[in-house]
Amino acid sequence: MSNEAVAELNQDIDLDQVDSIIEPYLGKKEMVIPILQKVQEHFGYLPRPVMEHISRRMHIPLSRLYGVTTFYAQFKLKPRGRNIIRVCKGTACHIQGSPKISERIEEILDVESGETTDDLRFTLEEVACIGCCALAPVIMVNDDPHGRLTPDKVKDILDGYE
Amino acid sequence: MERFIDPCCEKCIHTKDTPCKDFVDCCVEGPICHESQECAQKRKNITEKVALDENFVIC
């Protein structure tokens, strides 16, 4: 997604919602990770205006807040697609052929790992291990695991998500 | 008495605010602080309901 498109989305953010999330944690700087987790759960990502707001309310410099945010893989600074594809990059999946699965998905969607399709239909991500090693190679689309994949099965699976 | 935390009779005083040191042993082997067939049976009923086989309960 382009930066302009993100900026446009960021205009309609309701900061009151953020306040109600922060409220119980005011004055507890060590709780910044749970705050970011809850805020992201609400908005789907961490919009810039929200980050600035948290910074002010929690008295944490914005730079430090971004320092924490960008350190952890869970936090996203850009909106994500309606469907999240997580390709398991665990060892078992790797040796059972997950690179071939990623390649096929990237071909079909024309995005690379970490990116979102322009129509916001899919976001493609990698995850260290889903823990379904017996079903390797595995991808998760939203909460549905799809295991024992071969590259030729990928297209049918993706077609099932709008 | 549906769960171990429920008192078997008025003699059992264990709650989180008024703890009894024998509570854990008492769950399966009790009652410890008094003698009552009836109260022992109440505990047995709880274990028998879920015990998978004779080796399930470990004292």
């Binding site: 700087k29 060590e30 709780m31 910044v32 990770i33 749970p34 970011l36 987790q37 320092g67 924490v68 350190f71 952890y72 893989a73 869970q74 990059k89 665990g90 060892t91 078992a92 790797h94 040796i95 059972q96 052929g97 071939k100 096929r104 995850v127 260290a128 291990c129 889903i130 823990g131 379904c132 090693c133 017996a134 079903l135 390797a136 595995v138 295991g147 071969t150 590259p151 030729d152 | 769960r3 171990f4 935390i5 989180k16 703890p19 009894c20 040191k21 509570f23 854990v24 042993d25 769950c27 399966v28 274990t47 028998e48 309901k49 879920v50 998978l52 086989d53 399930f56 309960v57 470990i58």
Partner: protein
């Protein structure tokens, strides 16, 4: 009273192969027959055998049904539950048994296992504290509360328990350090940030037996003089977090957490922290920073966490599996019993996540000292498709590869370290002749390179350089001096990094060079990847003598690079082939060959 108990595996592996639908259909069937009250249905912990999931075990008969589909439920209800006759069709079958097998006694997968840590997994309802207590739960806590702190540390030391998180430091000694540290406020931290790709034993324990962790932490608290605990758990494990929260709530209600526990004057408060996805947070000082809401970066030791830990207070950090062992040791007579299992230097059992190209994948708990051969061939049932065993990777990105020649190596802390691997958290990934060892080293390094926090230059820059070299080699542009450069970089990184991540991340590269040097040399000097993984270094050819012309490969090829008539041997057009591997997966005759680039059709491998 129930007639029978139906334990449905509700762990992540089986859930993803559909155990939820199984449970629902089963419930519907029981309702339809009007017998639902006679049976107790539990979505329980993991019996370990993920390969054949979804799994149902029926007690007291101890019958193990596997590979279930919703449509099997009607038969299971009518024939077994109501009729009392085992449904043979749904029992375990495999090349390692002569006849369909029932359970522990006859399924080879279970034959060499010993359940210590997984003693309750799949047997109790993980959301019931009563069932945990029936299984002897919280008795060790009760005993510990009457003991002197140092006496508890000594018992754990005598039992020979070593930390299951990786390095294998004696747990009792670690507790002793925190116990002796001055100050009234101390913490116990449970490291449940299981980030090793390919390892999921901690998750299974958390999901299957959460009270064991709480009890372990409480005993640690008593032994260390701590009154507050943190469980730092990966956010990617939502079910584990939910079960932990339920367990904490129950323990508080029962007066087993909180103040004046069991009238002993001992207080303990439990908190859960959800990790946010950073592998380095498995490192103890990084984990502490993360609990404090900071970037999870390690710091130099000393001071060790036992002196300066969370919020600057003395802290003991233990791994999930370590804590799950504690109640067994501290119970009456437990320490001596515990020390009977295992080897001289490594006591007890270890849980492994057995995965990769082994036939029986899943979670296994075996006594320390079992050999690699026993684990792969007896428990694991050998290699998938009867292919050749090449190596096993132990310990994840910090571990190393153990080659076929060391198949008789006993699995314990010291033997593994000697072989260049580590126990690590317990991932065992089995590899066959279609796994490229150079690619594997590259895979692990790309993982650690991404996860390096960037604090120590040798780790941040060195892993990047090593990865670049490995990438070159797998692309066919390796140089003869590369191996020496890799070796020198690896040792610099090991010697000069602050934390475990940097100190161990070159292991996969070092061990693959040590045991599979010829594969590296083949890549570099001959431009050939014999495993058919590194794309520029091989080509597929169709074995003209054995191809039956079934057209399966022609249909599956996404770029139409295979031509040939039905019942005539097919041929691959090398200019079009992208080596995606779809054909080799599909071919039932095993006649797609991996050959050197430029070889002709008659060359067999």
């Amino acid at each position: 009273m129930y007639e029978k108990h139906i334990m449905i595996c509700g762990a992540t592996g089986c859930l993803s192969s559909g155990s939820n639908q199984i449970a629902e259909t089963l419930k519907e069937e029981l309702e339809k027959q009007g017998v639902i009250d006679k049976y107790r249905l539990v979505m329980g912990g993991c019996p370990g055998f993920c390969e054949v999931g979804p799994i149902i075990v029926i007690y007291p008969d101890e019958v193990f049904y596997c590979r279930l589909k919703p449509k099997d439920m009607a038969e299971l209800v009518e024939q077994h539950l109501i009729g009392g006759e085992i449904v043979e069709r749904l029992l375990y079958k495999g090349p390692d048994v002569d006849a369909p097998a029932r359970f522990y006694d006859t399924i080879p997968f279970y034959s060499k296992q010993k359940f210590n840590v997984l003693r309750n997994s799949g047997v109790i309802d993980p959301e019931s504290i009563d069932e945990y207590i029936m299984r002897g739960g919280y008795r060790a806590l009760r005993r510990a509360l009457q003991m002197d702190s140092q006496a508890i540390c000594d018992e754990v030391k005598d039992a020979g328990l070593r930390g299951r998180g990786g390095a294998g430091f004696p747990t009792g000694v670690k507790w002793g350090f925190t116990n002796k540290a001055p100050g009234p406020k101390k913490y116990i931290v449970c490291n449940a940030d299981e980030g090793d790709p390919g390892a999921f034993m901690d998750r299974s324990i958390l999901e299957g037996d959460p009270h064991a962790i709480l009890e372990g932490m409480l005993i640690a608290g008593k032994a260390c003089g701590a009154d507050e605990g943190y469980i730092y758990c990966r956010a990617e494990y939502p079910l584990a977090i939910r079960r932990l929260k339920t367990a904490i709530q129950q323990a508080e209600e029962y007066g087993l957490l909180g103040s004046n526990i069991l009238d002993s004057g001992f207080n303990f408060k439990m908190n859960i922290k959800e990790g946010a996805g950073a592998f380095v947070c498995g490192e103890e000082t990084a984990l502490l920073a993360s609990i404090e809401g900071k970037r999870g970066m390690p710091r130099p030791r000393p001071p060790f966490p036992a002196q300066v830990g969370v919020f600057g207070k003395p802290t003991t950090i233990n791994n999930v599996e370590t804590l799950a062992n504690i109640p067994l040791i501290v119970k009456e007579g437990g320490a001596a019993e515990y020390a009977k299992v295992g080897t001289e230097g490594s006591k007890g059992t270890k849980v492994f996540a057995l995965a990769g190209k082994v036939r029986n994948t899943g979670l296994v708990e075996v006594p320390m000292g079992i050999t690699i051969e026993e684990i792969i061939f007896d428990v694991g049932g050998g290699i998938q498709g009867g292919r050749e065993f090449k190596a096993v990777q132990a310990g994840g990105p910090s571990g190393g590869c153990i080659p076929h020649d060391l198949i008789n190596l006993p699995i314990d802390y010291d033997s593994l370290t000697k072989a260049g691997a580590i126990m690590g958290s317990g991932g065992l990934v089995v590899m066959d002749d279609r796994t490229c060892m150079v690619d594997l080293a590259k895979y692990f390094l790309s993982f650690t390179q991404k996860e390096s926090c960037g604090k120590c230059t040798p780790c941040r820059e060195g892993t990047k350089r090593m990865l670049e070299i490995l990438e070159r080699i797998t692309e066919g542009e390796g140089k003869p001096e590369d191996l020496d450069t890799l070796d020198s970089l690896a040792h610099s990184i090991k010697d000069s990094s602050l934390c475990g991540l940097g100190q161990t991340c070159p292991n996969p590269v070092l061990t693959t060079i040590r045991y599979f040097r010829h594969e590296y040399e083949e890549h570099i000097n001959e431009g050939y990847c014999r495993s058919g993984i590194c794309k520029p270094l091989f080509q597929y050819l169709i074995d003209q003598d054995n191809c039956t012309g079934c057209r399966a490969c022609v249909r599956v090829c996404p770029v139409e690079a295979i031509k040939g008539e039905k019942k005539e041997p097919h041929e691959i057009i090398q200019e079009l082939c992208t080596r995606c591997g779809s054909c080799i997966e599909k071919c039932r005759q095993d006649c797609i060959l991996i050959t050197r680039v430029g070889s002709e059709a008659d060359v067999s491998n």
